[in-house]
Symmetry: C2
Subunit: 338 residues, 2 copies
């Protein structure tokens, strides 16, 4: 079959790869309905994360189970499933506390930019739907696998409450999902920080009540203006740079919370600065599995439409154009037909 | 009158200082029932914080109001009051959110190692008792002003829940108050990290269920053993060094919370490390004012006895011995008779 492999910065290829097979008794093999490119795939693509050996790419997936290992109990061939980008057993203490992305058996999914995928720890990782979903819901179900779940975690970690004010730093796909999540959790004001018209429009569609196009200190000053000088209750940091983290910290009010889901690259936090700023920080790889059942329901009953975040769809063979379009910010997020 | 002044590392003096007077209409003058030395006073005493000019010391206080400015409404001469080491108006947005230590008008108290004290923003800062407390409760009421309130905030910021496991890093006075707070908030297991017999004994008296005398990686390993390899739900960081912060972070489980109240000195936090550790951080100068009414009640009805933390009492004129005893860890905390 075909799959995508990153050979080095800017060098992503679609080429023949081995078809996956059951390895462990707890595995499932699924035929993917679609795959996609994640903003985090751009870190190694841009050379900002080392590529020591060819990397099989892709960690977002949904599709139909074709085979399960003999120990698998909760999913069976023919079922439609969505799984998290973090493999988890969903039974260890960390999973039971709702932090499946720190599962004692955690693995990070890869090789999902392909038509067929092996999913380890299928019972803990996959959530099956009761019926086969309509085709038009596939992009939204695919989004639940990571980008939506990650935006949701940003809002959860930032402790968004009904009636509160939330700021979203970053207008990439995760940030836009963060807007959707914050609004769904009842934030009265959702301030999206974005300079790009198409992203601003999508943020508004997802429930943003205000757009701030300034960045850095100017952006912080605008947020302060909008909050009567107080700052936001919750800030969703969806980028992962020192600049975006500083911006996020400065947008929050004392006692406010920052949920950070952009993988930090070169970010240092000064302890004394954090102390006197008196702001709460929680981040990490999103425990998507915690949210998946609810997110799937919200998609199936058409309460949310996160699939709108895909503004480019390409066949797997054109994956290189998909990466380029995202790298050049011509596309927010690329869906791959596998 | 006499007061204490720090001239440089190790050079603390008791000398004649000006008696305070009403300056602003919102001030109160109180005659102190007692004062004390704080662990944070040791930072400049030890030369770990610059002393550019002679510093008037002391920020913990309780006593009887002798005079109020014309704008003061909630306290009056003759009342016994306890105040926070952070001056706050208790009306600004940050105060209303319960973060009075980030009040828009915040000032840090000083000059409280003296018999008479000026308290700015008296209405927002002071809490009066309904009657004059017995003399034997003075140490506990004095403790509420900072050390108890700070330990309380450490437990609050570490989100201690009934039935949970809490670890306290640091066996100074604040750490011991953190033990008391965590236990009072319902933690089922309170693990005090302490190597000193007298402090271990006091930790046990305050409700610690386990003592871990190892530090660093060995201490973390012991905490992991005691928690079946999981880590603690809540960790109270009550020191403020890189070593203690690292120890605190490593003792928490993923998704667990660290409340840090030791003023960080030279502490740097790596963003990516914090991300993958997936632990929640909140610290800062304690919003003691939020807790004061409850803490005063708990002391007056003799539910808690935080005054036990004072294991040395000296006249103000012997303040230098009080600092020395704490610096050399011969005393946990020194009460000063003013």
């Amino acid at each position: 079959m075909l799959g995508t492999v990153l050979y080095g910065p800017g060098d992503i290829r679609c080429e023949a790869v081995a078809e996956p097979e059951i390895v462990e008794a707890t595995d499932a093999i699924i035929k993917l309905s679609a795959s996609c490119i994640c903003g985090s795939d751009l870190w190694p693509y841009r050379g900002l994360q080392p590529v020591d050996a060819p990397m099989h790419m892709g960690h977002e997936y949904c599709g139909v189970v074709v085979e399960v290992g003999r120990a698998v109990r909760t999913v069976k061939p023919g079922q439609f499933v969505v799984g998290s980008f973090c493999i988890s057993d969903n039974t260890c203490p960390h999973c039971r506390f709702g932090f499946q992305s720190s599962c004692e058996q955690r693995e990070f999914m890869s090789r999902a930019q392909a038509p067929v995928l092996r999913v380890p720890l299928a019972d803990g990782t996959l959530v099956a739907t009761s019926a086969m979903p309509s085709d038009d819901l596939i992009p939204s179900l695919l989004a639940a696998s990571d980008v939506l779940g990650t935006g949701w975690y940003a809002a959860d970690a930032a402790r968004v409450q009904p009636g509160s004010t939330a700021v979203v730093v970053g207008d990439g796909a995760v940030g836009l999902m963060g807007v959707l999540a914050a609004r769904h959790m009842g934030a009265e004001r959702v301030i999206a920080m974005s300079r790009h018209k198409t992203r601003q429009d999508l943020a508004l569609e997802f429930g943003a009540t205000h757009i701030v196009s300034e960045r850095g200190d100017e952006g912080v000053a605008r947020v302060k203006e909008l909050t009567d000088g107080v700052g936001a209750d919750s800030v969703l940091e969806c980028v992962g740079t020192q600049e975006s983290m500083t911006q996020a910290m400065n947008c929050a009010r004392p006692g406010g919370s920052i949920g950070f889901v952009g993988v930090p690259h070169g970010v240092q936090i000064d302890g004394q600065g954090l102390f006197f700023a008196q702001k709460s920080l929680l981040g990490g790889p999103a425990p998507v599995r915690r949210f998946l059942p609810d997110l799937i329901d919200l998609v199936l009953n058409r309460t949310i439409n996160p699939g709108r975040v895909f503004d480019l769809a390409l066949p797997l063979t054109d994956v290189a154009e998909g990466y380029r379009a995202m790298d050049e910010r011509r596309a927010i997020k690329t869906l791959l037909h596998v």
